[in-house]
């Protein structure tokens, strides 16, 4: 199974046509796949809160958005999630590279990993954790759930899910 293609297919099947990204090594393949799809307007953002603003506007304009980012972004976007996405009740699937988990080579990434689920829980954000490749089978249902309830929803994808980092 090509995970990058499967994820992108699920986005398109759920009518998601506006995707903003802040890059991560683990997400490089899916970002390439999204960039290549004609059904999706791919708009890289410089910071994740900016990206959430773009998504909020796109949704009010009639397009279904999604954001792809690292878990460090949860630290950046707490205010935006609370006062824009949640306050105005907007749907936002967040495909998140969960750095600092098992097989992580960079120690500093662990410092935000230990806060990630606690912050998401504190904010009452529905959170799913993809650890094995087969977990991706739930993505379609998670996307439907997100646009049913009009909430931000986090999908944490760790290094084990992506198959590790290779030789490091």
């Amino acid at each position: 199974m090509n995970i990058d293609k499967k994820i992108t297919d699920d986005l398109v099947a759920n009518d998601i046509s506006f995707v903003t990204t802040v890059p991560c090594k683990q997400l490089a393949g899916v970002i390439d796949e999204i960039d290549a799809r004609e059904d999706i307007y791919h708009i890289p953002s410089n910071k994740e809160d900016e990206g959430m603003g773009l998504c909020a506007g796109a949704w009010m304009g009639g397009k279904r958005p999604a954001i792809i980012m690292q878990n460090t972004a949860i630290g950046v976007t707490v205010n935006t999630l609370a006062t824009l996405i949640q306050y105005y009740r907007m749907p936002l699937p967040m495909l998140i590279s969960y750095r600092g988990e098992l097989r992580e080579p960079v120690a500093c990434q662990v410092e935000m990993a230990v806060h990630t689920k606690a912050l998401l829980a504190q904010m009452n954000i529905p959170t799913y954790h993809f650890h094995h490749q087969a977990d991706v089978e739930e993505l379609d249902a998670i996307l439907k759930y997100t646009f049913m309830c009009n909430k931000p929803v986090a999908i944490l994808t760790d290094a084990n899910f992506w198959g590790g980092y290779g030789d490091q």
Binding site: F18, P44, D49, G53, L54, W59, M60, L84, Y88, M90
Partner: protein, 185 residues
């Protein structure tokens, strides 16, 4: 001329357009001067008006006018390269540049000192950047609408706020009536 005087003057131009308005006193002023379902008021999240407006402009064909401030642009300076590289010809960013953080007590911004936001926008790759004096804002805005080209307007005005009530409308109501106005033919 201060921001509220500009807003009063351009209200007839704004009335029929989709408007995304910056957090704080700018939204309170616009709401008090001419509340419209086509106005999206930001109640929180400083800095994101220009981003919300860009996402909106890229997702539907109607013109979108963003009323932003110099302080908010400085907060989210990364917005200008994104705007420049994702051209939406139905997008107008009006930066009311009074050189101060009006909603928090008129503390000076760097835009009121050595930093030129028009020059920054140009350096970021924005193609139609207009700097004008407050008195000429209406004419610049109308010209931008008529041009059908993505335009950044930096309107240099004096610092100061009108006393207006806080917006008490529920955010979901603001958003819902705005989305209905976006969809209306």
């Amino acid at each position: 001329m201060i921001r509220s005087e500009i807003l009063k003057e351009i209200a007839p131009i704004l009335r029929d357009q989709l408007v995304v308005c910056n957090i704080g006193i700018p939204s309170q002023e616009l709401h008090a001067i001419d509340d419209q379902p086509t106005n999206f008021y930001m109640l929180g999240t400083m800095g994101l008006a220009s981003s919300i407006g860009l996402g909106l402009a890229l997702s539907q064909p109607k013109p979108v006018i963003v009323i932003d401030g110099d302080g908010s642009i400085l907060t989210n300076l990364g917005t200008l390269p994104t705007i420049a590289n994702n051209v939406a010809d139905n997008y107008i960013l009006l930066i009311v540049d009074n050189g101060s953080y009006g909603s928090t007590g008129d503390q000076p911004t760097y835009a009121g000192k050595k930093t030129s936001l028009a020059a920054v926008a140009q350096a970021c790759g924005c193609e139609n950047v207009v700097e004008c004096q407050a008195e000429d804002t209406g004419a610049a805005l109308q010209a931008a609408l008529d041009s059908g080209k993505m335009t950044i307007i930096v309107s240099k005005c004096e610092s100061g706020n009108a006393k207006m009530p806080v917006i008490t409308m529920d955010p979901v109501v603001i958003r819902d009536r705005f989305m209905k106005a976006v969809q209306a033919s």
